[in-house]
Subunit: 152 residues, 2 copies
């Protein structure tokens, strides 16, 4: 198994993830995770430990949407060595909440994966939006093309 | 070089990081990064590409503090296979800003590292606080012990 094969498999994991969100399939998403996954999610708490803790949050995420969530991945970067790999990407969440609010937010995601018994599983999942210390607001409305600008 | 050796080296990288922050040594922090590092930082923009983009943000971070920043790492998890590894941890930032404001915030951090020419460098750095969609606020004041509670 070469590193190129591993990278192809990791890209496939992301394709499956996108397809699972499109089906609102929380079980398929949970099946991608190691039982002992450490998750730093967009929403609180600070961290979740274990797929059992992540699953209710995924369900609640789907339940919040009357239409969607849309989930478009871009700027996917994958790399692997041996049985360890990772995926870093941005995703665009769109849709309409049950409250009627329209959503359009960009999230940064990092998935660290382990190949166990020949199958890649997510052992660590970090997803977030930036934070503006001036206002205290989370910056859910940032556009990745504007974000390419140099800081300062 | 065994995986245990690699994990020891990654733990050492974090020790060096903590020491560099204590010295307010932005150059030492920059030296840990690959030239092409992809950074999803706590502060905007959405992402920075390259150590040249990250360095001014690190300098600005130090400049903002009249005392500190303190930087205490906990719950450090490291793993590696071959020349790819990662570190996931929480860190507690404390100190007093030049504005007089006292800071006490917990951040989630994920560092993906590559061993290049025998030395580990950070190729991807993701740091964040959670986001509360009800208020739109970033949650910089979460305590990791409270965060252990089950969601919902």
């Amino acid at each position: 198994m070469t590193a190129d094969d591993a990278k192809r498999q990791l890209r496939h994991l992301i394709e499956e993830r996108v397809a699972a969100v499109a089906r609102r399939d929380a079980e398929a998403l949970a099946a991608q995770q190691a039982a002992d996954v450490l998750a730093f999610n967009v929403l609180p708490p600070l961290r979740l430990q274990g797929a059992d803790q992540v699953a209710p949050q995924t369900e609640a995420w789907f339940d919040g949407y009357a239409h969607g969530p849309g989930y478009d991945v871009r700027d996917l970067h994958v790399d692997a060595d041996g049985d360890l790999g990772y995926c870093a990407f941005l995703y665009h969440v769109t849709g309409r909440l049950r409250s009627g609010e329209e959503v359009s937010m960009w999230v940064r995601a990092t998935l660290v994966c382990r190949r166990r018994d020949g199958r890649w599983v997510i052992v660590h999942d970090h997803e977030s939006v930036p934070w503006d210390p001036e206002t205290g607001q989370g910056m859910a409305g940032l556009d990745p093309d504007e974000a390419r600008h140099e800081p300062g």
